[in-house]
Symmetry: C2
Subunit: 133 residues, 2 copies
Protein backbone atom coordinates (compact mmCIF):
# COMPACT_ATOMS: atom_id res chain seq x y z
CA UNK A 1 0.00 0.00 0.00
CA UNK A 2 1.17 3.54 -0.65
CA UNK A 3 1.42 4.97 2.81
CA UNK A 4 2.23 8.43 3.96
CA UNK A 5 5.58 7.05 5.04
CA UNK A 6 6.30 6.49 1.37
CA UNK A 7 6.09 9.96 -0.06
CA UNK A 8 9.82 10.15 -0.56
CA UNK A 9 9.69 6.90 -2.45
CA UNK A 10 6.69 8.08 -4.44
CA UNK A 11 8.55 11.16 -5.51
CA UNK A 12 11.40 8.94 -6.60
CA UNK A 13 9.02 6.76 -8.55
CA UNK A 14 7.73 9.84 -10.36
CA UNK A 15 11.27 10.30 -11.53
CA UNK A 16 12.27 6.77 -12.38
CA UNK A 17 8.86 5.29 -13.17
CA UNK A 18 9.66 1.94 -11.56
CA UNK A 19 7.29 -0.15 -9.52
CA UNK A 20 8.23 -1.14 -6.03
CA UNK A 21 7.31 -3.90 -3.63
CA UNK A 22 7.84 -3.11 0.01
CA UNK A 23 6.93 -4.35 3.40
CA UNK A 24 6.51 -1.72 6.06
CA UNK A 25 6.24 -2.35 9.74
CA UNK A 26 3.81 -0.49 11.88
CA UNK A 27 6.45 1.34 13.88
CA UNK A 28 7.98 2.93 10.83
CA UNK A 29 4.56 3.89 9.62
CA UNK A 30 3.48 5.47 12.88
CA UNK A 31 6.73 7.36 13.30
CA UNK A 32 6.41 8.83 9.85
CA UNK A 33 2.82 9.83 10.48
CA UNK A 34 3.80 11.56 13.70
CA UNK A 35 6.52 13.56 12.01
CA UNK A 36 3.94 14.71 9.52
CA UNK A 37 6.39 16.74 7.42
CA UNK A 38 4.45 15.72 4.38
CA UNK A 39 1.14 17.43 5.00
CA UNK A 40 0.00 21.00 5.49
CA UNK A 41 -3.05 22.31 7.27
CA UNK A 42 -4.93 22.49 3.98
CA UNK A 43 -4.17 18.85 3.16
CA UNK A 44 -7.12 16.53 2.59
CA UNK A 45 -7.32 12.77 3.01
CA UNK A 46 -10.29 10.70 1.89
CA UNK A 47 -9.92 7.15 3.20
CA UNK A 48 -12.58 4.73 2.02
CA UNK A 49 -15.00 7.61 1.71
CA UNK A 50 -14.18 9.16 5.11
CA UNK A 51 -12.91 12.74 4.88
CA UNK A 52 -10.12 14.26 6.98
CA UNK A 53 -8.53 17.70 6.67
CA UNK A 54 -5.41 19.09 8.32
CA UNK A 55 -2.32 17.55 9.88
CA UNK A 56 -3.92 16.59 13.16
CA UNK A 57 -6.98 14.83 11.74
CA UNK A 58 -4.88 13.02 9.13
CA UNK A 59 -2.31 11.80 11.64
CA UNK A 60 -5.05 10.61 13.99
CA UNK A 61 -6.67 8.62 11.20
CA UNK A 62 -3.45 7.08 9.94
CA UNK A 63 -2.30 6.24 13.43
CA UNK A 64 -5.56 4.43 14.12
CA UNK A 65 -5.37 1.99 11.21
CA UNK A 66 -5.67 -1.45 12.77
CA UNK A 67 -3.05 -3.53 10.95
CA UNK A 68 0.38 -4.21 12.37
CA UNK A 69 2.11 -5.24 9.13
CA UNK A 70 1.34 -4.47 5.53
CA UNK A 71 2.86 -5.48 2.22
CA UNK A 72 2.02 -3.78 -1.06
CA UNK A 73 2.73 -4.16 -4.73
CA UNK A 74 2.21 -1.39 -7.29
CA UNK A 75 0.90 -2.80 -10.56
CA UNK A 76 0.24 0.43 -12.48
CA UNK A 77 1.06 4.09 -11.89
CA UNK A 78 0.39 7.29 -13.81
CA UNK A 79 1.83 10.74 -13.19
CA UNK A 80 1.02 14.15 -14.71
CA UNK A 81 2.11 17.75 -14.13
CA UNK A 82 -0.74 20.12 -13.27
CA UNK A 83 -1.02 23.76 -14.41
CA UNK A 84 -0.29 24.81 -10.84
CA UNK A 85 3.09 23.07 -10.83
CA UNK A 86 1.96 20.09 -8.80
CA UNK A 87 2.20 16.39 -9.63
CA UNK A 88 -0.98 14.32 -9.86
CA UNK A 89 -0.44 10.57 -9.42
CA UNK A 90 -2.80 7.62 -9.66
CA UNK A 91 -1.53 4.30 -8.38
CA UNK A 92 -3.19 0.89 -8.43
CA UNK A 93 -1.97 -2.32 -6.92
CA UNK A 94 -2.48 -4.98 -4.30
CA UNK A 95 -1.97 -5.01 -0.56
CA UNK A 96 -1.93 -7.55 2.22
CA UNK A 97 -2.59 -6.37 5.76
CA UNK A 98 -1.62 -8.81 8.51
CA UNK A 99 -3.23 -12.15 7.69
CA UNK A 100 -6.12 -10.70 5.66
CA UNK A 101 -6.64 -11.80 2.04
CA UNK A 102 -4.83 -9.88 -0.69
CA UNK A 103 -6.93 -6.93 -1.87
CA UNK A 104 -6.71 -4.54 -4.80
CA UNK A 105 -6.51 -0.81 -4.10
CA UNK A 106 -6.30 2.49 -5.94
CA UNK A 107 -5.02 5.79 -4.65
CA UNK A 108 -4.74 9.26 -6.14
CA UNK A 109 -2.66 12.04 -4.65
CA UNK A 110 -1.25 15.46 -5.43
CA UNK A 111 2.28 16.50 -4.48
CA UNK A 112 3.09 20.21 -4.32
CA UNK A 113 6.48 21.79 -3.95
CA UNK A 114 6.46 24.32 -1.11
CA UNK A 115 9.73 25.91 0.00
CA UNK A 116 11.77 23.21 -1.74
CA UNK A 117 9.89 20.40 -0.01
CA UNK A 118 7.28 18.11 -1.56
CA UNK A 119 4.12 17.98 0.49
CA UNK A 120 0.98 15.99 -0.11
CA UNK A 121 -1.99 18.33 -0.41
CA UNK A 122 -4.58 15.75 -1.47
CA UNK A 123 -4.88 12.00 -1.04
CA UNK A 124 -7.70 9.57 -1.82
CA UNK A 125 -7.63 5.86 -1.05
CA UNK A 126 -10.11 3.12 -1.94
CA UNK A 127 -10.01 -0.65 -1.87
CA UNK A 128 -10.84 -2.12 -5.27
CA UNK A 129 -13.99 -3.68 -3.82
CA UNK A 130 -15.94 -0.66 -4.99
CA UNK A 131 -15.55 -1.50 -8.65
CA UNK A 132 -17.97 -4.28 -8.03
CA UNK A 133 -20.39 -2.61 -5.64
CA UNK B 1 -17.63 5.30 -18.03
CA UNK B 2 -16.88 8.89 -17.22
CA UNK B 3 -16.33 10.43 -20.60
CA UNK B 4 -15.26 13.89 -21.55
CA UNK B 5 -18.83 14.43 -22.64
CA UNK B 6 -19.76 14.15 -18.98
CA UNK B 7 -17.82 16.97 -17.40
CA UNK B 8 -20.94 19.03 -16.83
CA UNK B 9 -22.54 16.07 -15.12
CA UNK B 10 -19.40 15.45 -13.11
CA UNK B 11 -19.45 18.98 -11.84
CA UNK B 12 -23.06 18.45 -10.86
CA UNK B 13 -22.15 15.28 -9.03
CA UNK B 14 -19.50 17.19 -7.10
CA UNK B 15 -22.32 19.36 -5.88
CA UNK B 16 -24.99 16.78 -5.16
CA UNK B 17 -22.79 13.74 -4.47
CA UNK B 18 -25.16 11.33 -6.22
CA UNK B 19 -24.14 8.43 -8.41
CA UNK B 20 -25.42 8.24 -11.94
CA UNK B 21 -25.98 5.49 -14.47
CA UNK B 22 -25.96 6.60 -18.07
CA UNK B 23 -25.76 5.21 -21.52
CA UNK B 24 -24.02 7.40 -24.05
CA UNK B 25 -24.05 6.90 -27.76
CA UNK B 26 -20.97 7.40 -29.83
CA UNK B 27 -22.32 10.39 -31.72
CA UNK B 28 -22.89 12.38 -28.60
CA UNK B 29 -19.48 11.42 -27.39
CA UNK B 30 -17.69 12.40 -30.58
CA UNK B 31 -19.53 15.67 -30.87
CA UNK B 32 -18.58 16.62 -27.35
CA UNK B 33 -14.95 15.68 -27.99
CA UNK B 34 -14.87 17.84 -31.09
CA UNK B 35 -16.24 20.85 -29.28
CA UNK B 36 -13.47 20.43 -26.76
CA UNK B 37 -14.56 23.30 -24.57
CA UNK B 38 -13.49 21.30 -21.58
CA UNK B 39 -9.76 21.12 -22.15
CA UNK B 40 -6.96 23.66 -22.47
CA UNK B 41 -3.64 23.34 -24.22
CA UNK B 42 -1.98 22.39 -20.94
CA UNK B 43 -4.50 19.59 -20.31
CA UNK B 44 -3.13 16.07 -19.89
CA UNK B 45 -4.85 12.75 -20.51
CA UNK B 46 -3.35 9.40 -19.54
CA UNK B 47 -5.43 6.60 -21.03
CA UNK B 48 -4.39 3.11 -20.03
CA UNK B 49 -0.84 4.36 -19.61
CA UNK B 50 -0.72 6.29 -22.90
CA UNK B 51 -0.01 9.99 -22.45
CA UNK B 52 -1.61 12.84 -24.42
CA UNK B 53 -1.24 16.58 -23.93
CA UNK B 54 -3.21 19.44 -25.46
CA UNK B 55 -6.63 19.76 -27.06
CA UNK B 56 -5.68 18.29 -30.40
CA UNK B 57 -3.97 15.14 -29.13
CA UNK B 58 -6.73 14.51 -26.60
CA UNK B 59 -9.51 14.90 -29.13
CA UNK B 60 -7.72 12.60 -31.55
CA UNK B 61 -7.38 9.93 -28.89
CA UNK B 62 -10.95 10.18 -27.67
CA UNK B 63 -12.31 10.20 -31.20
CA UNK B 64 -10.41 7.03 -32.03
CA UNK B 65 -11.84 4.87 -29.23
CA UNK B 66 -13.29 1.83 -30.95
CA UNK B 67 -16.62 1.26 -29.19
CA UNK B 68 -19.92 2.45 -30.60
CA UNK B 69 -21.98 2.29 -27.41
CA UNK B 70 -20.96 2.38 -23.79
CA UNK B 71 -22.83 2.11 -20.52
CA UNK B 72 -21.30 2.99 -17.16
CA UNK B 73 -22.17 2.83 -13.51
CA UNK B 74 -20.37 4.82 -10.83
CA UNK B 75 -19.99 2.78 -7.66
CA UNK B 76 -17.82 5.14 -5.57
CA UNK B 77 -16.68 8.73 -5.97
CA UNK B 78 -14.52 11.05 -3.89
CA UNK B 79 -14.00 14.79 -4.30
CA UNK B 80 -11.62 17.23 -2.62
CA UNK B 81 -10.72 20.91 -2.99
CA UNK B 82 -7.05 21.58 -3.78
CA UNK B 83 -4.99 24.50 -2.44
CA UNK B 84 -5.02 25.97 -5.97
CA UNK B 85 -8.84 26.18 -6.03
CA UNK B 86 -9.32 23.14 -8.23
CA UNK B 87 -11.43 20.03 -7.57
CA UNK B 88 -9.73 16.63 -7.48
CA UNK B 89 -12.08 13.70 -8.12
CA UNK B 90 -11.53 9.96 -8.05
CA UNK B 91 -14.28 7.80 -9.50
CA UNK B 92 -14.56 4.01 -9.63
CA UNK B 93 -17.22 1.93 -11.29
CA UNK B 94 -18.08 -0.49 -14.03
CA UNK B 95 -18.47 -0.06 -17.77
CA UNK B 96 -19.76 -2.11 -20.67
CA UNK B 97 -18.54 -1.24 -24.16
CA UNK B 98 -20.57 -2.72 -27.03
CA UNK B 99 -20.86 -6.47 -26.38
CA UNK B 100 -17.67 -6.76 -24.32
CA UNK B 101 -17.82 -8.15 -20.78
CA UNK B 102 -18.44 -5.71 -17.92
CA UNK B 103 -15.17 -4.27 -16.63
CA UNK B 104 -14.21 -2.26 -13.58
CA UNK B 105 -12.50 1.09 -14.09
CA UNK B 106 -11.03 3.95 -12.10
CA UNK B 107 -10.46 7.50 -13.20
CA UNK B 108 -8.99 10.56 -11.51
CA UNK B 109 -9.35 14.08 -12.84
CA UNK B 110 -8.84 17.70 -11.87
CA UNK B 111 -11.35 20.43 -12.72
CA UNK B 112 -10.17 24.05 -12.67
CA UNK B 113 -12.30 27.15 -12.92
CA UNK B 114 -10.95 29.45 -15.60
CA UNK B 115 -12.94 32.54 -16.58
CA UNK B 116 -16.10 31.17 -14.97
CA UNK B 117 -15.88 27.87 -16.88
CA UNK B 118 -14.81 24.51 -15.47
CA UNK B 119 -12.13 22.88 -17.57
CA UNK B 120 -10.43 19.54 -17.12
CA UNK B 121 -6.69 20.05 -16.74
CA UNK B 122 -5.77 16.47 -15.84
CA UNK B 123 -7.40 13.11 -16.48
CA UNK B 124 -6.21 9.55 -15.85
CA UNK B 125 -8.12 6.44 -16.81
CA UNK B 126 -7.39 2.77 -16.11
CA UNK B 127 -9.35 -0.42 -16.36
CA UNK B 128 -9.44 -2.27 -13.05
CA UNK B 129 -7.48 -5.14 -14.59
CA UNK B 130 -4.30 -3.57 -13.31
CA UNK B 131 -5.11 -4.28 -9.70
CA UNK B 132 -4.41 -7.87 -10.50
CA UNK B 133 -1.41 -7.52 -12.81
Amino acid sequence: MILWADYDSRRASVVDGRSRVDTLDCNRYTRAAERCWFTIDASCLTWEGQQFQGKRAIVEKLSSLPFTKIAHSITAQDHQPTPDCCILSMVVGQLKADDDPIMGFHQSFILKNINDAWVCTNDMFRLALHNFG
